[in-house]
Amino acid sequence: MPSPDFSRDLDQHRGYLMRVARLQLRDEALAEDVVQETLLAALSGSGFSGKSSLRTWLTGILKHKIVDAIRRKQREPIAAASFGDLESEVDIEDFDGYFKENGAWDARPADWGNPESALDRRQFFEMMDFCLEKLPPNTARVFMMREVMELETDEICKELTITANNLWVILYRARMSLRQCLEQNWFAGKNAPS
């Protein structure tokens, strides 16, 4: 029987789990279901050994629940359309805006100084939320699968039935967008011009 302390500890992570689930699934109700399932599994399952941090352990459970939810959605004909859009998100011409015709940077990356110092600031992660929300939904899902759930290329390709090249284009697009957004909204003006 889990202690009341453990239940309370779990609840503290609800906000974080909701943020991840929301970004992945783009469906508030579904995200709530998945987080509920995660917390229930955490309370009733084989138990937390204490070897990793609680958040890491919960993220592991959440990952499986999200993948299950995505699989269930894919079986539904209506929901299948949302991953069908993946192809149109893969159009490479869209990011020519970052480069001139000759392949040189249109706007050269700025000097971010010591970006690691931003990682101490809660506002920085709020800005990351903002920048992640700007990504097209399927792009964000795929990026989170790679960077938060840490799935490998072949796992993601198998899960979404896309080619490795498609995947790399999507991740490239996500990184270009995220980098630019963080530069414009956080790092620009925080360092001396160079």
């Binding site: 392949g103 040189a104 990356p109 971010w112 790679r146 991740l171």
Partner: protein, 64 residues
């Protein structure tokens, strides 16, 4: 001078794609070589490389 020519065998656009791909799959020997040569002559792309690596660190912290 030769290094400058070699460094421009690939464009910044090509380099940016390679730097992103490197985060997800190993590059071929040739890709690694042309990328490294480009980075040795392009400060903008060097910044980009550091920033892409920082993005991964930031995402790791974001998840925990």
């Amino acid at each position: 001078m030769i290094r400058n020519a070699l460094g421009h065998m690939i464009s910044c656009k090509d380099a940016s794609r390679l730097m992103s791909r490197k985060e997800d799959a190993p590059l071929t020997f040739w890709q690694r070589l042309t990328l490294r040569l480009h980075l040795s002559v392009c400060a903008a792309c060097m910044r980009f490389e550091r920033q892409v690596r920082f993005l991964r660190t930031a995402m790791q912290m974001y998840r925990s």
